[in-house]
């Protein structure tokens, strides 16, 4: 059982510089952020403020230029990567939800979710059991054998959420997960994320511009000019 007192994510003074010399751009200038297990926080800011850069750094997709990042108390970056295998780090510790579901088109619904545990070495049967359990929790169990192309947009997004949770990661990064959805469906996705965060004790960071869902966050990080400012959200029921 994970230690609930240890934050799922802790970021201190995170910096990211693109380029060098006169053309260098500081996308992140010292970001601080802490997210507890079971918590869903919003990350909002205008275009070019550094949201995606922060997400990519947190997702171990690009290397920061400095600072420190911890996941579940373990330093993954401290002025340099502390984990040699970043793919394994992403696979086991970070779930991703994208603006579009980006499911693997040639796999059916169950295998889209089961693929992650399988990549982590879980046996096929156990991985599919886990996938079916998650699909049931997200109300798409009836589509378990369907092809991705046969799903509605909302169903695809729920399968994508199930995939993000498949390896029970402590961190889930959601990049504009409600952008293509109407109000009702957007709020439904937030309800699901809140429920999953509570049920699976995952910290979820939701990058969004969506005015419909911003009032649902209890905590919000505003990012502007590469720096974050924390503020309390309204925490409305979605």
């Amino acid at each position: 059982m994970a230690d609930e007192t240890v934050p799922a994510i802790r970021i201190q003074g995170l910096r990211k510089r693109y380029g060098a010399g006169d053309t260098a751009v500081d996308a992140l200038k010292g970001v601080d952020m802490t997210v507890q297990r079971g918590e869903v926080v919003g990350l909002i800011g205008p275009s070019g403020s550094g949201k995606s850069t922060l997400l990519k750094c947190l997702g171990a997709v690009i290397e920061p230029s400095g600072g420190r990042m911890e996941i579940a108390g373990e330093a993954i970056y401290d002025e340099g990567w502390r984990i040699p295998d970043l793919r394994a780090l992403r696979r086991d510790n970070i779930g991703f939800i994208f603006q579009a579901p980006y499911l693997i088109s040639f796999l059916d619904v169950t295998d889209n979710v089961a693929l992650l545990p399988m990549l982590a070495g879980v046996g096929n049967a156990a991985a599919r059991d886990r996938a079916r359990e998650l699909l049931a929790a997200l109300d798409v169990a009836h589509r378990a054998t369907a092809q991705v192309s046969q799903l509605s947009g909302g169903e695809q997004q729920r399968v994508a959420i199930a995939r993000a949770l498949a390896n029970r990661p402590p961190v889930i990064l959601a990049d504009e997960p409600t952008a293509p959805l109407d109000s009702e469906r957007a709020l439904a996705v937030v309800r699901i994320l809140n429920g999953m965060a509570a049920q699976y004790r995952a910290a979820i960071i939701v990058v969004t511009h969506d005015e419909k869902i911003i009032p649902t966050f209890k905590r919000i990080y505003h990012i502007r000019d590469g720096r974050t400012h924390e503020e309390a959200g309204e925490g409305r029921e979605p």
Partner: protein, 397 residues
């Protein structure tokens, strides 16, 4: 672990199958080219084996009778027949020409032979052997003739009395066997106008038309109107005799060239069809390169169409080996489909080719390995492209 390559193939099987069939047709052409070369070698071997000879005696300094013109007097065989180690001899005349049947001209190799001696058709698949001294023929079935058909050769009509099989020249023309005398006549026969002109020219030559030598002019003119030449004497050596030794004796004492079976095969394969085999070799190289380019292009296109999915796979932790393996397996899968289709179509269209196409299992195996290697190499470009995909592409911004 899920086999991603198989799932992707099954998901888009129509596109994959059509691509495989297209590649298969190309591989079929490649296998057929190899089959044509094998067929040429086989034809040459059958030509030699089917003649029933151990030695070919031809004019000195020639590679005759199949590769170069050779001319011998038709009584030379008497002298050869008396040599030690010789069991049987037979004169043979060869001539490639057009023959007419039912208003259709076709190209054949006319073979003049002496029944019961080396050089006669090895076996018949229909009809009977030639029994009469003139105007009967045995045809290879590839000539499209049937027993009872009448074939026009120069001035005379020949009745087809028998059919044989797999008796074709080195260039693939079916053989038409006729009595030696007929073949000699066909080979050296001049038309009437030419004979009249030749006689007049001879008569005008004082050396042949001497007033004091009666009969000389007639003798010279008679010699010009007939032929006693053959192209080769085929020799069967006695049991226990060494063909090489007998050939050596003929070369030494009769001042003629004598080739053994091995030497004749060498002439046919290494010299006569050498240019054709190089031509086919070039085609094989070009077709292999084209196949590789097509596979590379197809696999690259399939991969590029999956860039977003590859980025997602990388982001969620799939290793390079998993992604590279998926692309490699797809390329090999395409190769397997292509090879199976290619082998099937090559077998189906082989009988339609005018030349004999021999598809050997060994060539098919070599072809399969080559296809797999080409597909593996062709997938390298796509694998490199896939490995360069940035997982960050899955995240916006």
């Amino acid at each position: 672990m899920i086999n991603l390559a198989v799932r992707d193939i099954l998901h888009g099987w129509g596109k994959f199958a059509f691509t495989g069939v297209g590649l298969g047709l190309l591989i079929g052409v490649t296998l057929s080219m190899a089959g044509i070369y094998r067929g040429m070698v086989e034809d040459a071997t059958v030509l030699i084996e089917g003649s029933g000879a151990d030695l070919w005696v031809v004019q000195q300094g020639t590679l005759g009778p199949y590769a170069e013109p050779s001319s011998l007097r038709d009584d030379v065989h008497h002298a050869i027949a008396g040599m030690p180690g010789v069991a049987a001899v037979g004169n043979a005349a060869y001539l490639t020409m057009q023959v007419g049947h039912a208003g259709v001209e076709s190209r054949v190799m006319l073979v003049g032979f002496e029944p019961g001696r080396p050089g006669e058709p090895a076996f018949l698949v229909a009809g009977r052997p030639i029994l009469r001294g003139h105007y009967e023929a045995v045809a290879d079935e590839k000539a499209g003739l049937r027993v009872g058909d009448r074939v026009r050769i120069r001035r005379h009509e020949y009745e087809v009395v028998g059919l044989t099989r797999r008796m074709v020249s080195a260039s693939g023309d079916p053989m038409l066997f006729v009595p030696l005398k007929d073949a000699q006549e066909v080979q050296f026969l001049k038309d009437n106008d030419t004979l009249v002109i030749e006689r007049a020219r001879t008569a005008a030559n004082p050396a042949f038309n001497r007033p004091g030598v009666p009969g000389l002019l007639e003798a010279v003119q008679a010699s010009q109107a007939q032929s006693r030449q053959v192209n080769s004497v085929l020799v069967r050596v006695a049991e226990g005799a060494d063909p090489e030794e007998v050939a050596g004796e003929i070369r030494r004492w009769k001042r003629l060239q004598a080739y053994t079976t091995a030497q004749m095969e060498e002439i046919l394969v290494a010299k006569l069809i050498a240019t054709s085999s190089k031509q086919i070799g070039m085609f094989l190289v070009i077709l292999s390169v084209v196949s590789a380019a097509i596979v590379a292009f197809i696999i690259y296109t399939l991969t590029v169409n999956k860039v977003r999915e590859i980025a997602v796979l990388k982001l969620i932790g799939a290793t390079n080996a998993t992604i590279g393996g998926m692309i490699l397996q797809q390329a090999l899968g395409l190769g397997v489909i292509g090879f199976v289709v290619g082998r099937i179509v090559a077998g189906l269209w082989a009988p339609v080719f005018p030349k004999y196409v021999l598809l050997l299992p060994g060539d098919a195996l070599r072809g399969f390995v080559l296809v797999m290697v080409i597909c593996a190499l062709a997938s390298v470009v796509a694998i490199r492209a896939a490995l360069r995909v940035d997982p960050a592409e899955a995240i916006g911004g």
